[in-house]
């Protein structure tokens, strides 16, 4: 299984930071940061909220020398005790379908922050479309349909898994969202 999604460039950092700052749970905050990068977002959240936030960073590489779990976040998400974390952060470039699927399948209960970016020519994840009832043949026949409506399909897919409301900040094909699972 290849690591399909990588960390985003923080071009809307302020929006990501405040989305998190305004929606993190009260009390202790333990974050599983699956696309941690340099940890910039949660450092800034800590700064603007003045709260102590415990993060466990995961990423494929890390140049800054702080402790992190190196490797494919899907492997960690599959085995780690998720009940230790009341926040999971999926700040990916792309659509973190595999990671969300693992969280839903494992019955995770907590807050989730997601970055959803569908590039203009980006294909929607086939697993996601398949969950919504589209066959591979349909997608192959007319891929442009799924490029246009990626965001609405993604929302529909979240709803299929029990998500009722999301808090979202959107810009063109980028969406930064928060929702609760479980």
């Amino acid at each position: 299984m290849a690591q399909t999604d990588k960390k985003t460039f923080n071009s809307y950092l302020a929006d990501k930071v405040w989305l998190r700052a305004r929606n993190i749970p009260k009390g202790e905050v333990n974050v599983l940061d699956c696309f941690a990068g340099k940890g910039t977002i949660w450092r800034a959240v800590q700064l603007v909220t003045g709260r102590e936030i415990n993060t466990l960073p995961i990423d494929t590489t890390n140049s800054d020398g702080f402790f992190y779990l190196p490797g494919d976040n899907r492997s960690f998400l599959s085995i780690i005790d998720l009940s230790r974390f009341n926040v999971v952060d999926l700040d990916a470039y792309g659509i973190p379908y595999d990671q969300l699927k693992i969280l839903f399948d494992r019955g995770y209960k907590g807050c989730v922050f997601v970055t959803f970016i569908q590039s203009l020519y980006g294909q929607m994840n086939m697993g996601l479309l398949s969950d919504l009832g589209f066959s591979e043949e349909m997608v192959k026949n007319i891929p442009t349909l799924f490029r246009k409506s990626g965001w609405s399909y993604f929302c529909e897919w979240l709803a299929l898994h029990g998500v009722k409301t999301i808090r979202v900040r959107g810009h063109q094909r980028k969406h930064y969202l928060f929702f609760k699972m479980g």
Binding site: N10, Y12, L13, A14, D15, V17, W18, L19, R22, K38, T40, A44, L47, V48, L132, G133, F134, S135, E137, M138, N141, I142, P143, T144, L145, K148, S149, C155, E156, L158, A159, L160, V163, K164, T165, I166, R167, V168, R169, G170, H171, Y176
Partner: protein, 191 residues
């Protein structure tokens, strides 16, 4: 003591005495950025030095890094002259210490919102660091946050392919279908 008046004079680099307690440090990158700026724009801001001592030399107050870079990068030699802002009276050692630190510290700060209006690559080229720009950027919210309900719409998905020559007829059928509640028609052309 009287507030000094300042004027610009030409001083040889060799006549400027560096302050040995100068607390300013410089990284290789910072030195390279200063050199780049000097090569492109010259010394736009004069260095600052005290009035001359008996031997004609002057204690440098501001411009230590530029002084070092001019020599090290061979942009100028020790006998070259530069514009230096000098006072009309000899400043005491304490005054020199204070003004050296004040010139470094008593400056405004950059407005992160206005700074973010510049192209990021341009700022990086000037010498800003990625992390520094990121740190600034968290103050700069741009998007509205809203709450949205998401709904699952269990559906049967049907794919109907129509030859292009039948598109006009298909349009009529699509228009009819769209009149039915619960039917969602998505259409497009093959790539």
């Amino acid at each position: 003591m009287k507030t000094p008046n300042w004027s610009i004079v030409q001083v040889k680099l060799s006549d400027l005495i560096l302050w040995d307690r100068n607390p300013v440090k410089i990284t290789k990158k910072e030195a390279a950025d200063i050199e780049k700026s000097i090569r492109k724009f010259g010394l736009a801001i004069p260095m600052v030095a005290n009035a001359p001592l008996k031997d004609g030399k002057r204690r440098l107050v501001d411009g230590h890094q530029r002084h070092g870079i001019l020599i090290a990068s061979k942009i100028m030699g020790l006998n070259s002259t530069v514009n230096v802002s000098v006072p009309d009276r000899l400043l005491t050692e304490e005054e020199c210490d204070e003004i050296t630190l004040r010139l470094r510290k008593n400056i405004g700060s950059l407005d992160p919102v206005k700074l973010n209006e510049f192209d990021r690559n341009f700022l990086l080229d000037i010498g800003f660091e990625e992390a520094e720009l990121d740190e600034n950027d968290y103050k700069n919210e741009r998007l509205k946050e809203k709450e949205e309900e998401v709904r699952a719409r269990p559906m049967v998905r049907v794919l109907i392919s129509i030859p292009i020559d039948l598109a006009l007829d298909a349009k009529k059928i699509i228009n009819k279908l769209e009149e039915f509640k619960g039917i969602e028609v998505l259409y497009g052309a093959n790539d």
